[in-house]
Amino acid sequence: MIDERDIFEIVAKQAKVEPSALTADVLLSDLELQSIDVVELVFAIEEKFDIQVPYSPSDQDSAGISFKSVGEIIEAVNKLVAEQHPAA
């Protein structure tokens, strides 16, 4: 399992808020993140966890990946890390 605090930090940095202001229920749309901001966020997550995220702004639920809320991001990243780094 990943350390959830890493996701909170990455989202907070992209949204320009304090990590303590975030909960798992917070929606990216509530943070006023535009699609290009989410693309940058996904990039930061890929770099941090050394994973490939099959995310497309035009089809948010592609490949079973949903990035609508902080909690969904944590869930998706856990799944992708388990798939892509099974030994870890």
Partner: protein, 401 residues
């Protein structure tokens, strides 16, 4: 004000390396999109593109020329040779001074830049090749066109990302219309197929993994293309006096800026450019027989462009065939507008309306007549061609048969 006609057209594109080949491909709805041949697939997520095929540089340029020319310049010069030959003009007879060369490009010599930086950063080379700078500069394709044909009038390159070609052709049109020059060689070029630029485009997450499906439900983005389209524009009276074959007439040009977002398109900005073009041409909505859409196949563009067409054409919008030929030749970036003007012209000549290929099913956000999958017989008298760029720069051309 002078009327401005097209007396030469050259095309080097994923749909063929001549106007005839392109007409044939478009009328069949044939695709120029496929697995990339020129970039190794290892390390790529997106492995498709629309490349220029059957082109051997050594068959068209000397070793010395090739040492000075990035692929984007080669394609532009190839297309310019076709266009100038068709026009029958010889610019070395004194007319070159009254001829402008205005060429659009989005990024310039990407392959040169990619190779040079790879050598220095990855291979530890201690020096770059001495011709790296004149090869990679974005204006080089235009420079080579002037030298190839001896065109000594005003010359510059226009860069406005994916609207570069339409801006270049539009400015050239205005220069001939105003009488500043008697003719212009204009159009655009792009050739970005190299590993570094593919990784950059992948990272934007706007590229389709399978194919380009503009305006269709299930569209997943754009497909990168390379190619060049070059035209000879000429003062109508002069062209007529010398008995030149007239391929079409440019009758209007409209521009606008969104002044809003570096990547997201805007309905009002796109609509303003289309309206400005109709106003410039003196056209009413019902006068337009065909719209060659920007139609990138991204979620955002296609819905926004549809709304913009509704905003300008009102009740008439649903009656006008709108197609994205990018579904077949991909997105040629700075060369896109020129490739699409060529597509529109050859369709006019062939009396058919090019289709939007790879169309699967309607998307509620895209509710116009997109001529799905199969070309339609029918004469086009007046068409407009849209280009909307990253940064919110919109440029629309109107042409008449």
């Amino acid at each position: 004000m002078n009327r401005v006609v097209i007396t030469g057209m050259g095309i080097v594109s994923p749909l063929g390396n001549s106007a005839d080949e392109m007409r044939d491909s478009l009328s069949k709805g044939a695709s120029g999109i496929g697995p990339i041949q020129s970039v190794p697939h290892d390390g790529l997520i997106i492995k498709i593109g629309a490349e220029v095929k059957n082109y051997d540089p050594a068959a068209h340029f000397t070793d010395k020329q090739l040492g000075l020319m990035d692929r984007c310049a080669q394609l532009a010069v190839m297309a310019s040779r076709q266009a100038v030959a068709q026009s029958g003009l010889n610019f070395r007879d004194g007319s070159g001074a009254k001829t402008a060369t205005i060429i659009g490009a989005g990024v310039g010599g990407m392959q040169t830049l990619d190779e040079s930086f790879h050598r220095i950063y990855a291979e530890g080379a201690r020096r770059a090749h001495p011709l790296t700078v004149p090869k990679l500069m974005i204006s080089a394709p235009m420079s080579h066109i002037t030298m190839e044909h001896g065109i000594t009038g005003p010359s510059f390159t226009v860069a406005s990302a994916c609207a570069s070609s339409n801006h270049a052709i539009g400015v050239a049109y205005q220069m001939v219309r105003s009488g500043m020059v008697e003719a212009a060689v204009t159009g655009g070029t792009e050739a970005v197929f190299c590993f570094g630029s593919f990784k950059a485009w992948e990272a934007l997450r706007v590229m389709a993994p399978d194919t380009c499906r503009p305006f269709s439900k299930g569209r997943a983005g754009m497909v990168l293309a390379e190619g060049a389209g070059i035209f000879v524009l000429e003062n109508y009276d002069r062209a007529k006096a010398r008995g030149a074959e007239i391929l079409g007439e440019i009758i209007g040009f409209g521009m606008s800026s969104d002044a809003a977002d570096i990547v997201l398109p805007s309905v009002s900005g796109a609509a303003a450019a289309i309206q400005a073009c109709l106003d410039d041409a003196g056209l009413n909505p019902e006068d337009v027989d065909y719209i060659n859409a920007h139609g990138t196949g991204t979620y955002a563009n296609d819905a926004t462009e549809t709304k913009a067409i509704h905003a300008v054409f009102g009740e008439t919008a649903k009656k006008i065939p709108v197609s994205s030929t990018k579904s077949m030749h991909g997105h040629g970036l700075g060369g896109a507008g020129a490739i699409e003007l060529a597509a529109t012209l050859v369709a006019m000549q062939g009396s058919f309306i090019p289709p939007t290929a790879n169309y699967v099913e309607p998307d509620p956000a895209c509710d116009l007549d997109y001529v799905p999958n199969i070309a339609r017989q029918g004469a086009i008298k007046v068409a407009i061609s849209n280009s909307f760029a990253f940064g919110g720069h919109n440029a629309v051309l109107a042409i008449k048969r």
